[in-house]
């Protein structure tokens, strides 16, 4: 009778128990990620509870934010956040896609790499540095432009401004007044939009570039073989194919824009009034947190500011989740 082969069982058992320990250690450390997420919700939720319970839904619909009288309605800054982000998005998306096309389709390799790298560096510039540059360089230009607008050579413009100022004082706005300059310092909604546009450009651009590279070469070659020009190849074979992925990058950039803080806080002028003119002062949720949280002494004020943080938190969770979903769906199976 043949003896059954005896496998060395001790090392195997030893390794399996040590493997289990290792797995637990790694799992525990990875669970810290979940912990950070849960702690964030708990912390923000607990601190915003006084405001949420006292003010309720009106926190989001009322537009008077006045710490002196104890009124906290965030509608104006929610609008400020959405307006600055969406307008910046609309301006930056075509520019970003064009630069991605340049890097992937037009430029020779010796030029494509440095340009692609410069665009990446654009994302590495800190928010405060953008803010500093906007404050010292662009704001004076905008201010000069606005003073020119009011120069005595154009009395009819001054008349228009006076009319609009009366309307504003009366809490009315008209579309015509929306474009009338009204700030001497150059700070305000327009500058915030300009700087946000620059800041979110690289996010859309890098996602767009990656997606455009995923377009199969055969697709391009087939179009070229039919005699298409470069632009026809781009507009009919590349962009439609890359559409969904670019959309993911756009939404990712939107998430960035919503939460962008200091550059905007430095240049937007910090006014919690209703937005009356694109040149006027405004505020975003993030800029109000940056400007007011440090000084907020009263419980309700402090809690209201944290509620803005909580709102921003959920907004960015949703936006990022949607972006990842779109990008993940687009990634071909097997690449992950």
């Amino acid at each position: 009778m043949i003896e059954p082969v005896r496998r060395p069982s001790t090392p195997a058992r030893l390794s399996s128990s040590s493997d289990r320990t290792f797995e637990w250690v790694i799992l525990l450390l990875a669970a810290v990620i979940v912990l950070v997420f849960v702690l964030s919700i708990y912390q923000l939720g607990r601190e915003s509870w006084p405001a949420l319970s006292r003010i309720g839904v009106e926190f989001f619909t009322q537009r008077t934010w006045n710490p002196v009288s104890g009124q906290y309605g965030a509608a104006a800054m929610i609008a400020g956040t959405l307006i600055t982000s969406l307008v910046a998005l609309v301006i930056s998306v075509p520019l970003a896609i064009a630069s991605a096309l340049f890097v992937s389709e037009y430029a020779p390799k010796w030029l494509a790499d440095p340009v692609g790298y410069l665009i990446e560096l654009l994302a590495a510039v800190p928010s405060v540095v953008y803010g500093l540059w906007a404050l010292f360089v662009i704001a004076p230009v905008l201010a000069r432009w606005q003073t020119t607008f009011f120069s005595p050579e154009y009395p009819e413009r001054l008349a228009l401004y006076t009319k609009c100022a009366a309307l504003w004082a009366d809490n009315h706005t008209t579309l015509q007044c929306f474009f009338v300059p009204n700030s001497g310092a150059g700070r305000g909604l327009a500058l915030a939009v300009i700087i946000l546009t620059v800041m979110i450009l690289p996010y859309t651009a890098s996602v767009a570039r990656d997606v455009i590279r995923l377009v199969p070469a055969e697709q391009r070659e087939a179009m070229y073989a039919l005699g298409a020009t470069k632009w026809e190849v781009i507009s009919r074979a590349i962009l439609p194919y890359a559409r969904a992925g670019i959309m993911g990058g756009v939404i990712l950039a939107l998430g960035r824009a919503l939460g962008e803080t200091l550059a905007v806080a430095m240049v937007i002028g910090d006014s919690q009034d209703v937005i009356r003119s694109i040149w006027g002062n405004a505020s975003t949720m993030a800029s109000v947190i940056a400007n007011q949280f440090g000084d907020a002494q009263e419980l309700l004020h402090r809690s209201s500011v944290v509620t803005l943080g909580l709102t921003l938190f959920f907004l960015s969770v949703v936006v990022n989740y949607v972006a990842r979903l779109i990008i993940a769906r687009l990634t071909p199976k097997g690449i992950q």
Partner: protein
Amino acid sequence: MGVSTLTASRRVGLSPARRARNMFMGGLILLATLIVVAPLILIFAYLLREGLGAMNLDFFTKVPAPEGETGGGLLNAILGSLEMLAMASVIGVGVGVAGGIFLAEYPRHPLMPSIRMISDVLAGIPAIVMGLVAYGLIVLRFGFSGLAGALALGFLMIPIVVRTSEEVLKLVPQTVREAGLALGLPKWLVTLKIVLPAAAGGIITGVMLALARVAGEAAPLLFTAFGNNLVNADPTKPMSALPLEIYRGATSAYDENQRMAKAGALLLILLIFATSLLARRFGRRK
């Protein structure tokens, strides 16, 4: 004769309208790319012109002069930034690399999809919100401190490190793991002694990119580290950082503070560019 038929046929294939449209769109794309790259060059040139003059020995060896006086430097901010980044790395690298190992080496674990999703979502949370969280966790109990700032920065580092280390670990060929297992090594030894060293270059790249990213954050430090005009090595006391001094200086009315802010911005941007350049070099060699 042959040449003329060739040009004739090309003229048939590509009408002037299509040719013009092609040229026009190409021009627009070039123009847009110039517009995209211009701010970077303008910012860099501006900071070089304005900040270089203020970057003398004092800048690196002295603390800010009292409000309204000239002279002084940003030693407090430079040391504070380094100290907080070092502390943040402990959290960011420890949890981040472990998270990357978990996602890459245990892809069939039931918790894997949710941890990956939460890590992705965490990457998009605004830095200032993380500042509010760190404020509630630490500052409310123990007061403003470098530690609270480092915690916020560490939280911000985690998702970046997770993502890059997961990607690099997945690039290590499966056969390498199998070879290790075939030698009778337990899985944890294979992971620690074979897979991790093989991916080390990429992981270091990811950590450097994460550091470059959070080194420029001022928003979460506004009400955690708070800032300090003196050199401070005690992590339980308020601490300054380069981005904080840039923010204060840029919004200050004093010329001297603005000058310091511009020099600080130049230093910060140079450090960040150098780090990401190095990271890229390092990453590409692999």
